[in-house]
Amino acid sequence: MSGFSAIGLELAVVVGALAILMIGVCVSSERRSFLSYVAALFVGLVLLSSFLVSWPEKQAFFEGTYLVDGLALFFKRLFLVAAGFVLVMASGSSRETAIGVEFPVLVLIALAGMMFAASAGGFILLFVALELVTVTFYVLVAFARNTRRSLEAGVKFLIIGAVTSAFLVLGMAFVYGATGTMNFDELRVAPIDVGNKQLFDIGLVLVFVGVGFKLAAVPSQIWAPDVYEGAPAPVGAFLASGSKAVGLVLIVRVMNSTMLQGETLWAVLLAVSAVASILYGALCAIPQKDLKRLLGYSSIVTAGYLLIGLASGSEAGIGASLYYMTAYTFAALAVFTVVSIVFGASEPAEIVGLAGLYKRSPLLAVALTLSMISLAGIPPLAGFFGKFLLVKSAVGSAGLKTGLVVLIGVMVVGILISIYYYFGVIRAVYWVAPSKDGKSIIVTRSERVALIMLMVGLVWLGLFPGRLIRASSGAVGSIAPSRQAIAEVVKHDGERR
């Protein structure tokens, strides 16, 4: 496989974006909302084609900067799915996102950035791809710039994003300084002098902070509530799904490549961040009244869960995080779809506004309920299995080390609190009487189809998780040989000494 065919998916997406931009210029403005459909369809085609190509097991391109392996592919497909639903969402009822041709184009460009990021083989591509995503999102978040909230959210995202990028670059510089390389494969086996160890550690923490910005993990979680609240609903959906997954895959990659030198560092770092994220997000979410803001906090909690899987350090743990990310993606997409239909894309989403939704639109009520239940981690939906796998990986690596006990304890507390606030939403949907002006809500056909697909996905993943578990463990397994290599290196090291 040549380098260009290796980046074929990304190229396709970029070309698609440009094409839509061109078409958009020519099409009259009334028919431009049509472009989102086209983009969604196109993304679907790319997704399909990703299954038709036979990908190499694991191969590096462009002198090791670009990797094709199971992990990259897993995430690329996840990004494609997320982008597809986001585009459908954008095409629907929300006026302001559909009018411009820019919206689908920007989504596609961000998508391309995400896909590149998933394949990053070193810090260089990591940074560039990450910034591609981030800069695109600055625009997307502030897309409804005629509303003050969207604008404010954009500025906040911009400032915090830029600061964390600075930390990221500094961190990369330190790691580079300590090891002399930016390539992940070389990093893995790069020797570090004792004098440089601290530099390396600080560098890794800063890189974690920079990448954790995408994930919304403590300490760079602070933007999430404001941005989720202010951004248009489809953008929120993309933040919760694609953008968060980018953070996850990059942390997995960095962690995987520095595990040898920084095993305890990662364990402590991830555990502390996970605990803080879960507690912070869950506690702050309790008194929330705006659904989008609530999702912002819950996204912080989710980041914590994802980190727990990584913190357990096992292959199963990382697989669990991947599974949970997928489940979360489905649920978050469904919730944001409902929000954008019920409230409009960039209006405030007061939870009390959901009163009597079961009467106004049973489909939306059921979709919201299912996704809330899935987010709360209750069977038989996807979220339950995700949390189950996470707990399993944590317990599995626990023995009875105090750190992981705390982690599990915090996780239990977090799940409980999240049940509390998710049930608040369900309560508003079902047992608060509808307000007087509760008209029934019109759901377009494409939205209906999208919602049903998401619901089926939630239930399917909950009842028959086997395939996805295999896929996620396969994805993790594809980077495992290198993990095995680590073990060998460690052994050699030991023998040498």
Binding site: Y138, L151, I159, S165, M182
Partner: protein, 101 residues
């Protein structure tokens, strides 16, 4: 006295801290934004310094990319700040604190 790696790093660190302090304490968002650019530049300086003393070009490549990405960021950032001003808002952090808690 020969100028060594540590000197570069000290300068870089100093710059980074100045930038950070600016981000934290300046009122005008435009200035804040410039301070962020300063932080990026400081980080790039560290990169280049390491690259130079390691005798490896990767760092310099990344530094170049950082500069170009920063330019893109500035474009978007300025546009946003302009949009803020066009809505008749002052570009300060206090003014843009509508969403909270």
């Amino acid at each position: 006295m020969t100028v060594g790696l540590n000197h570069y790093l000290a300068v870089s660190g100093l710059l980074f801290c100045i930038g950070l302090a600016g981000v934290l304490f300046r009122r005008n968002l435009l200035v804040v934004y410039m301070c962020i650019e300063m932080m990026l530049a400081a980080a790039s300086l560290a990169l280049v310094a390491f690259s130079r003393f390691r005798g490896d070009l990767d760092g310099q490549v990344l530094a170049l990319l950082v500069i170009s990405v920063a330019a893109a960021e500035v474009a978007v950032g300025l546009a946003l700040i302009v949009a803020v001003c066009r809505r008749g808002l002052k570009p300060t952090a206090d003014e843009l604190a509508g969403m909270k808690l």
